[in-house]
């Protein structure tokens, strides 16, 4: 039996302009990466059942673009697009992120995967452009730091599982 993880995403705001979401999946890391990055998979989960994914292209390489368009039940079109900055299968991607409904919310999204005992932890860090630019400029310090935190988080989760 696998645990019910519905609604279990942990969303934290380490600063005004960063959103870090953490979520576990009972699936191997490679499969989670495929489901996140292959259009034929993304089409199956990205939008609610009432909505239709009308466009889903993902060119998974540095400099490659992705574009996802969802048409909602009431006919509204939601368009997400961006360009990959880093691609390290099957554990990490960094890409620009623009939701056309919120042109001021221009961001960079870093997606990282970790697998522990068959449980894959997805971490998505959404950082508004200048913040993300600053992180990239200061090289890997921030990333190492966030990975340490992810390790701590996984450890704390496993303690929770053992004690419950």
């Amino acid at each position: 039996m696998t645990p019910d993880r519905h609604g279990s995403a942990v969303v934290v705001f380490p600063s005004e302009l960063e959103i870090v979401t953490t979520r576990e999946f009972d699936a191997p890391l490679e499969l989670v990466f495929e489901v996140l990055t292959k259009p034929e998979h993304v089409r199956n989960w990205f939008a609610p059942f009432t909505d239709v994914v009308t466009e889903c292209s993902i060119d998974l390489r540095v400099g490659g673009d992705y574009h996802i368009v969802v048409v909602t039940e009431d006919g509204a079109e939601c368009s997400f697009r961006g360009t990959y900055i880093e691609v390290e299968p099957p554990t990490r991607t960094v890409a620009t992120w623009l939701f056309e409904g919120w042109p001021d919310a221009d961001a960079v999204e870093t997606v990282e995967l970790h697998e522990t005992d068959g449980v894959t932890t997805l971490t998505m860090r959404l950082a508004f452009r200048d913040q993300a630019g600053r992180d990239h400029m200061t090289t890997s310090d921030g990333q190492a730091d966030s990975l340490d935190k992810l390790e701590d988080y996984l450890a704390s989760l496993q303690r929770d599982v053992v004690s419950s």
Binding site: A9, E16, I19, R23, A27, L31, A105, R134
Partner: protein, 114 residues
């Protein structure tokens, strides 16, 4: 025209690192320009310029005190940002739940002898 979007929108106003630092330093309470300058090691013209942008979107307010002008954070003006985040959080949770269900289907549908 390029400037108008910066001054009209809370999202753009806080998208600048220095302006966020100014907001951070005002969390402690009202401050004069001189105090912000010494907190952040910025020049007075820089601080004044950023305070003008923050004032225009209402994120800071000011009042005269003697010969000085004191600046104060108006956190309620960050509401559009919080509302956007709340909406984002709900949408994201639902999307990740769908991804969870899809992963489960995939794994049930595949032979387990690999």
């Amino acid at each position: 025209m390029a400037r108008s979007s910066t001054t009209a929108d809370v999202f753009n106003a806080v998208a600048e690192t220095r302006r966020r630092e100014i907001l951070d330093t005002l969390i402690d309470g009202e401050k004069a320009v001189g105090a912000i300058v010494s907190d952040l090691s910025l020049s007075q013209p820089q601080v004044s310029k950023h305070l003008r942008v923050l004032s225009e979107v209402g994120l800071v307010s000011s009042r005269p005190e003697g010969r000085r002008r004191l600046y104060r954070l108006e956190p309620s003006r960050l509401r559009p940002f919080h509302e956007w985040l709340a909406k984002y959080e709900q949408t994201l949770n639902e999307r990740l739940d769908r991804m969870d269900e899809y992963l489960e289907q995939l794994q049930q549908g595949e032979p387990s002898d690999t």
